[in-house]
Amino acid sequence: MAVSALRTEIINVKKILIGIIFLSFIGAAGAALAAGIGDQAGSETYSDPLAPFNEKMFWINLKLDKYIMRPVATGYADVLPEDVRRHIGNFWDNVGVIPRFANNLFQLKMVPAGTEVSRFLINSTLGGAGFFDVADPWFGLKEHDEDFGLTMGHYGVPMGPYLVLPFYGPSSIRDALGRAADGAMNPMSYTLPWYISLPAQAGATAASAINYRSLNLQLFEDVDRYAVDLYGAVQDGYIQRRRKREAENTF
């Protein structure tokens, strides 16, 4: 049963995903965005119009984590000591400078945008190709994380309905579009032909995700252990943190 059921499930998910992409192109997403996630006040839960899709995707992501990500990350953590994995995390972080810089710029945050450039130059050289974050302790230059979802938020685009993405997990209509925009800023995607850049970017995403997962083995377990309703806990965690970031961004 399992394989065919999973296949039907994936086909359903595909259909819904294609539907969403189509809708967003014909501008219906605008209406969906206006509807918004909604406040907790009235119904006490977030409005979740995509819940049937989201819950399926959430379940698939959990399986993906249980049978692939977690075992791989655990094996990886057995081979590489924690401090080495932290340096690898720094490396991936350093590589992701372009969307951070661009989105600071888009929001007219000139000083943080400049800081991102300085951090990249310092860490890529003195920090040994980005494996060491020396810009923070030596020069007091802290990272200013921004993404295109937050940029859209900065200019008044609401978060839109909650959306669970395959592999990436919790997101929203707006933030998923933002993620695509940030991905398009990756130099690989405009300097290399797509049949090289797509697998290369997927490989980089997988490698950094495994590294990240290996550094958060306990954290993931804790959430699972303490939550009464895991979907609701993850959904709320995502929305609360994004709202917090947005509130910091409006001034």
Binding site: E44, Y46, R225, V228, G232, Q235, D236
Partner: protein
């Protein structure tokens, strides 16, 4: 908010006290005595239910507060007991009338520090914690979304059963 600092100090003194090493239930009792006066569990339980609280009878409310408190205890006592010398820093505090917030961060290993902010309310001259934000996520708000989803899908009775079951599974797992 010296009260928060003092409570954390007492908690750390208990968990690092070697004489409790083989007396976990005595230690838990001691922890409860220190923590209970500082946390307003019934207020936390009430706001975690949101408007559903109003639909409950006084007896149901008391039962829910007990179940919720037991869940929090089971969840966080285990976490507190696994304390391994993580560094706790007091960053700042803000006060607005009878509401206050104490910002702390916990540094474990070489990772990023995790922010833990205590939200307090003053009533009858004592400051009590009514919510904790861990890594920017309000604990009570997070439970509220979970609880209301379960109530909307399956009803209140199922939620109460799920909370009790979760608490037992955490307790038996330690």
């Amino acid at each position: 908010m010296a009260a928060v600092k003092e409570t954390v100090r007492q908690v750390l003194a208990i968990v690092t006290d070697p004489s409790y090493k083989s007396a976990t239930s005595a230690r838990r009792q001691k922890l409860r005595e220190v923590i209970a006066p500082r946390f307003d569990f019934s207020d936390m339980a009430k706001s975690s239910l949101g408007y559903h609280w109003r639909t409950l009878t006084p007896a149901q409310r008391a039962d829910f507060v007990r179940a919720f408190t037991a869940l929090l205890e089971a969840s966080y006592m285990g976490k507190i007991e696994s304390y391994k010398g993580q560094k706790i820093s007091y960053l700042r505090e803000t006060q607005d009338g009878s509401y206050a917030q104490v910002y702390t961060s916990i540094q474990s290993g070489g990772g990023e520090p995790v922010s833990v902010n205590y939200r307090l309310k003053q009533s009858d001259g004592t400051w009590k914690v009514y919510d904790v934000a861990i890594d920017q996520i309000s604990l009570v708000g997070n439970y509220r979304n979970q609880f209301n989803r379960v109530i909307n899908d399956k009803g209140y009775a199922q939620l109460l059963a799920a909370i009790k079951q979760k608490e037992q599974s955490i307790d038996s797992g330690r």
